[in-house]
């Protein structure tokens, strides 16, 4: 599958997505795995009107979201979102401000637990268990599902200690030097900092700090990395580096990225979910599918309006 959306734009014809919803009835049990779900093709959920495109490749599901809702006190931020997060792919969450992208992302590693009054509903299946189950330890969830934030937030410690932090608190007993080097290499930062590992993480440039934060997340060896607008505070050159890095990391990790930037979603993601909030400001999933389908052949008028820049 081609990696670059813009080459796709030029080369590929719109994918055939107009599979009748009736094919769905052929499957009795809910498919745990995306290839089975793929056969369902496009279907319109009567209550939520979310459109799902057909997935044409063989791919596992890392996370399966089912009817995920989130509330902050009395305010409902997102309403019954259902979608798969394909394994070893980059999935982009796009949509205008306030549509619940970040909230949805923060549901996936229980970061919302830290906000007083926040509540989640529904189910996020991860390795056969529901992440949102209160009996599941949120600390364990976050160790396996890492996160990179909008603004780089390295600890006021040395570069080395920043990367080693997660491993230390998780009782890693192996060769710490190797772990740190490996994480920094994979975050494409090693060559720039190899001689100054004792320097404070805060002394780095913004782009380097963000790559340090990615290295820090990798060092815990998570399965999934959530990125909340990881490049929005960076200049174009640093942004490009982060995007390249995301593509490389997708070889080993499942990546979910929230972005405001349509071009970025097109450049880096394999799958895209378009979220939108109605007048009552409750975010809902509008359309989900392979990125090239969403961008070249959006089925929902609102998706088309958004990606063509008509609003947002």
């Amino acid at each position: 599958m081609p990696r670059n959306f813009f080459t796709l734009m030029r080369s590929s014809a719109p994918a055939a997505t107009d599979v009748p919803a009736a094919t769905r009835s052929g499957h009795g049990t809910p498919p745990p795995n995306w290839t089975a779900e793929a056969a369902t093709g496009v279907h319109l959920d009567a209550s939520l009107e979310a459109v799902r495109h057909e997935i044409t490749e063989e791919v596992d599901t890392a996370l399966q979201l089912r009817d995920v809702s989130a509330f902050y006190g009395d305010f409902q931020a997102i309403d019954r979102m259902s979608m798969p997060i394909p394994r070893n792919r980059v999935t982009a969450l796009i949509g205008p401000s306030g549509c619940g992208k970040s909230t949805l992302l923060r549901c996936c590693n229980r970061m919302n637990d830290l906000i007083p009054g926040a509540r989640m509903d529904g189910e996020i299946e991860f390795e056969g268990r529901n992440l949102l189950d209160p009996n599941i330890d949120a600390v364990e969830v976050r160790r396996r599902i890492g996160m990179v934030f909008q603004k780089p937030n390295p600890f006021p410690k040395s570069i080395y200690e920043n990367v080693a932090f997660g491993a230390r608190i998780n009782g890693y007993s192996g060769d710490m030097d190797r772990l740190v080097e490996d994480a920094l290499r994979r975050a494409a930062l090693w060559d720039e900092v190899r001689d100054e590992l004792d320097k404070s993480g805060l002394a780095l440039s913004g782009g380097q700090q963000q790559r340090l934060c990615i290295a820090r997340a990798i060092a815990v060896q998570p399965e999934i990395i959530l990125m909340d607008e990881p490049a929005s505070a960076l200049d174009p050159v640093a942004t490009l580096k982060i995007e390249d890095l995301m593509r490389e990391l997708a070889e080993e990790y499942t990546i979910v990225v929230v972005t405001h930037n349509m071009q970025q979603a097109g450049r880096v993601s394999d799958y895209t979910a378009f979220l939108l909030a109605g007048e009552e400001r409750v975010g809902r999933l509008v359309e989900f599918g392979p990125t090239q389908d969403i961008f070249t052949n959006p089925l929902d008028q609102r998706t088309e309006d958004y990606i063509t820049g008509r609003y947002g």
């Binding site: 364990e140 976050r142 890492g146 996160m147 937030n153 006021p156 997660g166 805060l202 997340a217």
Partner: protein, 327 residues
């Protein structure tokens, strides 16, 4: 002469007066801008005096201290003061080894810090990282009220509550006046300083750092101890040094509970005398102002002043030097 001019002299005067008034209206006087109304000048002067009064008082005190200390050292060699550990200013055989008093002060301050640092830091961590906002809104002001309890109350608290417990534990040989008892209440007295200032410093640590740590699978305790506390290091250390400086300068409680025995021993169950308690003792007596006992007061006070001033400077330096700047 006046008739030649198109305007009469009175008219000229009126005009210039009006012009003057206008100028004042248009350019409100500011200090240093030259023109000020008499009332403005009066207020300006009064404000200046108020602002500088405390500075003048401080300078006055320091000058008196220096002057009297110099007088003292004219009669007693420096070596007798700083080179000895025995103090007996009120006896016929006078000895002025200030180390006995510095030691007493230091021991009480150390005991106090040993009590206050763990208590204060735990309170700060609880308030900053664990407490629900509503509970903090109640607990923190109460903690700060503790700092306003008159220190004489702490002195009696030491005698009637702490010393009996110490005697229960260590036996009846221990006097009711002892360094441990005084040190413990001094510790309780400075807990609010450490707790309140450290909590301020910890709460100033950006939320994004906590989130970063949580996202790596940290527990609340790990976030508190390994991220927030180190990030607030400068504020925490400064609060401890300020608390120590308060402990060193503490007077009433240690005069009441510490006993009056200037000595250079390591046993905290013995009575000790601090610099401050010695100053109280000498000031209360009928010490003639020309006597050497009166003059040594100032030498001791000077030592104390230099000590606490030094600690405050170090506290400020630490908080500036180790401050982490976040956006």
């Amino acid at each position: 002469m006046a008739a030649q001019a198109p305007h009469g002299p009175q008219q000229d005067t009126v005009r210039s007066l009006l012009a003057e008034l206008w100028r004042e209206r248009l350019q409100p006087s500011r200090p240093g801008s030259g023109r000020e109304t008499p009332v403005g000048r009066l207020i300006h002067g009064a404000l200046f005096l108020t602002a500088t009064l405390s500075a003048f008082v401080t300078i006055g005190i320091v000058l008196v201290l220096i002057f009297e200390t110099v007088e003292f050292f004219r009669e007693v060699p420096l070596l007798d003061f700083f080179g000895s550990t025995s103090w007996s200013a009120l006896f016929a055989e006078k000895q002025f080894g200030v180390w006995a008093l510095v030691w007493g002060t230091g021991m009480i301050a150390l005991i106090g810090l040993a009590v206050a640092i763990p208590l204060g830091l735990m309170a700060a961590i609880f308030l900053s990282e664990y407490s629900p906002p509503r509970l903090r809104a109640i607990v923190k002001p109460i903690l700060e009220i503790l700092a306003g309890v008159p220190t004489v109350v702490f002195g009696y608290f030491a005698l009637v509550s702490v010393s009996p417990v110490i005697r229960d534990i260590f036996g009846e040989d221990v006097g009711i006046y002892n360094a441990l008892s005084a040190g413990i209440v001094v510790g309780l007295m400075i807990v609010p300083i450490i707790a309140s200032l450290s909590e301020d410093a910890m709460r100033a640590v950006p939320r994004s750092l906590r989130e970063g740590a949580y996202a790596l699978g940290s527990t609340r305790m790990e976030v508190s101890l390994r991220v927030v506390l180190p990030a607030a290091f400068s504020g925490v250390v400064a609060s401890i040094i300020l608390a120590a400086s308060r402990a060193v300068g503490e007077t009433m409680a240690v005069t009441i509970a510490g006993g009056g025995n200037p000595q250079f021993g390591v046993n905290p169950l013995e009575a000790v005398q601090t610099m401050t308690a010695m100053i109280v003792q000498l000031s209360l007596g009928d010490t003639p102002t020309t006597s050497i006992e009166f003059k040594v007061l100032f030498a001791v006070a000077m030592t104390l002043f230099v000590l606490t001033l030094g600690m405050n400077i170090v506290a400020q330096w630490v908080s500036r030097r180790f401050r982490e700047e976040y956006e």
